[in-house]
Structure formats: structure tokens, C-alpha cells
Symmetry: C2
Subunit: 277 residues, 2 copies
């Protein structure tokens, strides 16, 4: 099911700038019991992304109405929202009047085994680097060739995620996740000043951890630093938190702090489902 | 007029990876007398881009047939070819079997005044930087947010092009052009090892210049180096060569070498039109 500018359709104009240049943004949102989860946070990021890219934001009210329409009576699904700069303009130059394209689509919830959450996943380091550009860093925009090239590096189904480094060798994130590690009871995650996505789950974890008295240090770190951690986990809006049990040949245990954060996030999620949009 | 996978259409599936992730490539080609110009060079770059991104190339023969069909009886136009990784796959992961989407579209030839070619254009330095990523550098891919953000920086019609620097302050290219300069009878252009597009016109100029005994040094250079040049010009497949007469407050004369290269390229272009595809 796809809603394009409020109408049920499955096709977009070729001249849409999303197709021509990746000129837009997206959100991937978990849906449970007819309700898009952490929807206000996703709307906020969309609005902020629009502001950074100078794309007119269609408004929270309209997007909420359309999301509710699409998600009604859905037990579990993934809601994807794409906003683009619409059609027109000459070349890279944007049209004088921008009519933002909005695409809301519903997809089956991915069928991940429960043991990913419980026993953890296996990750690898990717060879494809993330470029550096502070101007676009943090934004969940439609320019995703780096992630696609990284994800194409392996086909082994025993490996669930690839970890990407920037061109300076700093560990930034997974192909579809943000990454955290714990070392000596201190929580760390990557700085996303020059590359990487400001994940909704990443933000929630930093705030939940703070309430538990666990501050998060956002910094640049190397592969070696990561491999010397006590606990490692990845996160996104669909999977929540997956502990990482192995990166290459290095093994990790699923630690207490990771489990505590998982529990807190599940509680937060359940509370969010109860709030009527 | 738009040909999508061989059929006249104007819409693309929302699930196309070009729309979802900018997962593809494009070419912008001048058309004269029913003939796409320097078409073999464009096909070669498309094929090489496909190879670097692991997108199956649909083949020169098919693309030539479709291009001829679209361009027949067209006096002057712009042919755009977009190739994407098709539809499907889960998230960034590409589908097991890729069916490349091909979109060929014909557009009016832009109405640039003749004096841009003769007296030169005015350029400015852009504030939006180009990111660094050797893995994607050179490829004319669909991830073009940097160029769009740069092109949105000015609206003054007296300025025809914006010059982009990488995050280290090296001058790389225009928003829609490659850039050259001449200093003490030596031709220079930017290195495109870490960012920038390997323009067809850029390649032709390097080879034409070499035949004139003028070698091109590809290197990293600063704004100051550029501003101290004797001649500056920008180029792409649609405009050919535009001398730059002014960048900010610094003025340049339209030099002999630039004019010589313009003449040689026009000859090359006219010869190319005569070759039946």
C-alpha cells in the first residue's frame, strides 16, 4: 500500500527530483497495533532534515493523518515515509516554487529471528568507506550509494550487519544501524559530525542511558578501540537493540548494560504505542 | 518524450532503487541533427560506472537503438539516460537478480546566450563543500544532494556557475561543470580521485590539448592558485567550453588557449555528428 501525495498509487513521475538526484529524505518506522512507533520523533527529524535541505515540510498534521490511514488495522509492519523536492527545476537548480512530494508506504515487518535480540548478531567491518561531509552528516537523506555498496560486500547469511568506517578509519555506524559500545561502565558512540545518520533509536538510547546515570561519550574511535570493548550493540527503529556477539574473530558477551537498555527501550516503546497520535 | 525500459511512459515504480536510494547513474548528452554527440564516450562511461557500482549494463546496442529512436528528427535537444539497480531487495541489500531500469528522456536544449561562449561567464565560490569518497569519486551517480545544495546558494542570474571546493579546501569543479585553468602556458585541472565527476568533456579536452602539445596537470589546488591563473574555463557536454571572465571580484581575459581548445572541440563535435551510430 502506497500513498503518494494523498492518493493510492504505485508510480512516481520520472521527473521527480527524488529519482533524478536523490533529492529528498526518508524515515523507516516500526508499526505495531495500527500505530507508528516513536512517530513524533520521526516527524521531528523529518522536519529538521527538510529545514537543512530547504525542502518545505508538509506538516506534522497531514503526515500523521496519512500515516494513521495507512497503518490502521495493521498488527506489525514497517512504514516508510519519503519526502522529495518534487518535480521540476532545471538541472540541479531547484524550481522557484517547490511542491514537496510525499510517499508513505507500508511493508511487511522483517522476519528476524528472536535470538538476534537475545544472543546477539555477527558483524563484519566493511571495506566501503563513508565519505566526509559535515553539511549532509546526520541527515537521513536519499543519497545512499555508500550503504548499498557496503551492504553488497557480503552474502553470508550468518553475518547480520556490516560496520562502516569513514575515510579516516573512524568507526561510524552499521550499514543500517547506529553503533554503541561499553567499556569500563562507560557508554560510547560515534560522532556523527562529518558522516553517519542521527538515528532515532540512537537518540532515544542516549536519553534513556542518561536517566540510568550512564552518560554517552560521542567521539571518533578506531576498530581497535571497538574491539577492546566489553559490550557492543547496534540499533535502529525496526530492530531496537541487537547485541553484537562477534566482529570478525573477536567475540563479545551480551552484557548487563545492553540488556538493561533493551528492557528500558521496550518499556518506552510500549508506552508510546498507548499514546494516541 | 521518455522511454522506460523500451516503452513510452512518464512514471517509474516507487520501489525503484533510483527513487529509494539514488541507486544508479546518469548521462546528459547533447543532441544535434538527430544524433547524440560523443555517444560512444557516454556509453563507455555508463558501462564503467555500472561496473564500479555492480549494476548490470544493458549493453551499448540496446541503448544506441533506443537513443536513436528518441532523437530522430530532433534538431537540438538534451538526451538524459538514467540507469538504476531496478526494483526490489530488502533495504540497502540489492536483489539477488538485478533487472537494471533504463530511462531515456529528451529535453529542450537550454537557451544559453552566445556571449557565454564568447565573452565568458561569471562564477562564484560555493559554500557547500564536496565530500570525500574515493570509492564513488569520478562516477556520474544519482547521489547529487551536494550539487543541489551548492546550486541553491545563489539566485542572481548574472552568475552562471558556482565553483565547489572539497572539505579540505581544494577546488574541484563547478556545480554542473568541470574546471580548468591555464598558468604560464600550462593547463591544469582538478584531481578527481576523492570527489568530483569524470566529465566526458573534461576527458576530451585533456586529449585534444595533448594533441596540441599542451599537457594537463591533474592536481589539488586552492582558491588562491585558481585566482592567480591566466585563463579559466568550465566545461560539460551541453555547453562545451565556457571561459570564466570573473570569479567574485577577480577578472580574467578570454585567452588564446581557451579559444583554441573551443575551436578544436567544435571541430571534433562536428566530426562526431557525421559518424552514424
Amino acid at each position: 500500500m502506497i500513498l503518494i501525495n494523498g492518493e493510492f498509487k504505485a508510480h512516481i513521475e520520472v521527473s521527480d527530483r527524488g529519482f533524478q538526484y536523490g533529492d529528498g529524505l526518508f524515515e523507516t518506522i516500526a508499526v505495531a497495533k495500527g500505530q507508528p512507533i516513536f512517530f513524533n520523533q520521526h516527524l521531528k527529524r523529518l522536519s529538521e532534515g527538510c529545514s537543512r535541505l530547504h525542502i518545505p515540510f508538509p506538516g506534522s498534521e497531514l503526515l500523521t493523518t496519512e500515516a494513521k490511514k495507512l497503518c490502521a488495522h495493521t498488527e506489525a509492519a514497517v512504514l516508510k515515509i519519503i519526502l522529495t523536492r518534487g518535480t521540476g527545476g532545471r538541472g540541479y537548480r531547484q524550481p522557484d516554487e517547490i511542491k514537496t512530494t510525499r510517499v508513505l508506504s507500508l511493508h511487511p515487518f522483517p522476519d528476524y529471528p528472536d535470538n538476534y535480540k537475545e544472543q546477539g548478531i555477527v558483524a563484519r567491518f566493511c571495506d566501503t568507506p563513508l565519505g566526509l561531509n559535515p553539511r549532509l552528516a546526520g541527515i537521513k537523506h536519499l543519497n545512499r550509494l555508500e550503504q548499498i555498496m557496503a551492504r553488497s560486500e557480503w552474502n553470508n547469511p550468518a553475518i547480520q550487519e556490516g560496520i562502516m568506517l569513514d575515510i579516516n578509519g573512524h568507526v561510524i555506524e552499521g550499514t543500517m544501524t547506529n553503533l554503541f559500545y561499553l567499556k569500563n561502565k562507560q557508554l560510547y558512540t560515534s560522532s556523527i559530525e562529518a558522516s553517519g545518520v542521527a538515528g532515532i533509536m540512537r537518540g532515544l538510547i542516549i536519553s534513556v542511558a542518561a536517566k540510568l546515570g550512564l552518560t554517552t561519550i560521542e567521539h571518533n574511535f578506531t576498530q581497535d578501540e571497538l574491539l577492546s570493548a566489553n559490550e557492543v550493540f547496534v540499533c535502529n527503529s525496526i530492530i531496537g537493540i541487537w547485541p553484537v556477539k562477534q566482529i570478525g574473530k573477536v567475540h563479545f558477551t551480551v552484557g548487563e548494560e545492553t540488556q538493561l537498555l533493551q528492557d528500558k527501550l521496550i518499556k518506552l516503546r510500549n508506552e508510546d504505542i498507548k499514546v494516541d497520535l
